[in-house]
């Protein structure tokens, strides 16, 4: 039986396609800091938000949820829920 070798944090990050650093999510007047390297969808979840209720944009353009957030990224979330 082969046991998995323990990975260092750096290797772990590389394996999951992560890069170091953080990205910022902005929803209305709130900002959330998330680690770079995870997907936009994961980042929204990590911020404690419901992906179904927001749309991620960068520079006013809609971005795919499976895109990975990069170090220094600023992602504006557009709330899709309106009242009434």
């Amino acid at each position: 039986m082969v046991t998995e070798p323990l990975l260092t944090e750096a290797q772990d990050n590389m394996q999951e396609g992560r890069t170091r650093g953080t990205a910022t999510l902005i929803l209305r007047d709130k900002t959330y800091t998330v680690p770079a390297g995870i997907t936009v969808r994961q980042a929204i979840q990590k911020a404690g938000l419901v992906p179904e209720s927001v749309l991620p944009t960068r520079d006013g353009e809609l971005i795919p949820e499976d895109e990975r957030v990069r170090d220094g990224d600023v992602i504006h979330l557009v709330a899709v829920i309106s009242g009434g």
């Binding site: 179904e52 209720s53 749309l55 971005i63 795919p64 009242g83 009434g84």
Partner: protein, 340 residues
Amino acid sequence: MRKCRKCGQRAVVYMRQHRLALCKEHYIEWFIEQTARTIRKYRMFTKEDRVLVAVSGGKDSLALWDVLWQLGYQAHGLYIGLGIDGGIGYSDRSREAVETFARERNLHLIVEDVPTQYGEGIPEMARRTRRGRGKPCSVCGLVKRHIMNRVAREGGYTVLATGHNLDDEAAVLFGNVMTWQVGYLARQHPVLPARDGLVKKVKPFFRFYERETAAYALLRGIRYVYDECPFAQGAKSIYYKELLNKLEEERPGTKLQFFLGFLRAKEQGAFAPVQEEVDEELHACEVCGQPTTAPGRCAFCRLVTPGEPVSKPALIAPPLTTPSVVSETASETGARGTVT
């Protein structure tokens, strides 16, 4: 990386409930086609109809007008200025967004301004009446329904279209189920035929998730008002939408099944209309001529004509019109479906 089902390029929108990923171009195409299909499938209107679209300045109603325009329907817009500021110039900004939209596309827009015509805005009207106690949304719904029907009749429009999406409809349904408002369940439908002076009402976006109408507006570069109506904050409908979205996260398609299942159940005879309501005749209001359940003046005329208070009977008059009318602004958290 997800690829567009149509062209294989990078997808920008993924709809989990349909397992469908599309690029910008094909998403816009899909969205327009789906609207056309819904309009046909539910016999909402044809190219012969003159359609009046209620536009609030929000994403749904502007997206709807945009789609109907692209599909070549005869669709004019109706904006109703409600006189709501809320510290953010809500009504002014909404009007500006709608006017800019219409100008850019060379579309015909009708503007009705409540404060100009009736001397006061919705918040002031609400403060004077029982109906408005707490929140002005009920008064607002009444005023919008009245004006929309009047403008449609005056202008010879055969159909009134609103931008309600599936989340709007599912939230209303959820609320009515939670409290077992059987009468409202009987009346909730994306197509309400014309009757006795009430113009036909349709909701061509009722199968789209709110997320999809927002994505369409963004991808098309439609400049809409992001802010809520200040009075919608904390509304029950928003709370229900958030709850439903949590369910949707766990099980994609939940919202759609909930609402389409309801329509199917109705077709099979569930939620039959209450008999007294079916039998009830509508009278013409002695002041404005619009249909009302009680003889005499309609609830709207009693609201806008000072002197006589809006009396209790009018408030509990069985609702025969649409359960919810104008698009997504300060709408009908309260008296859903009250006849004007």
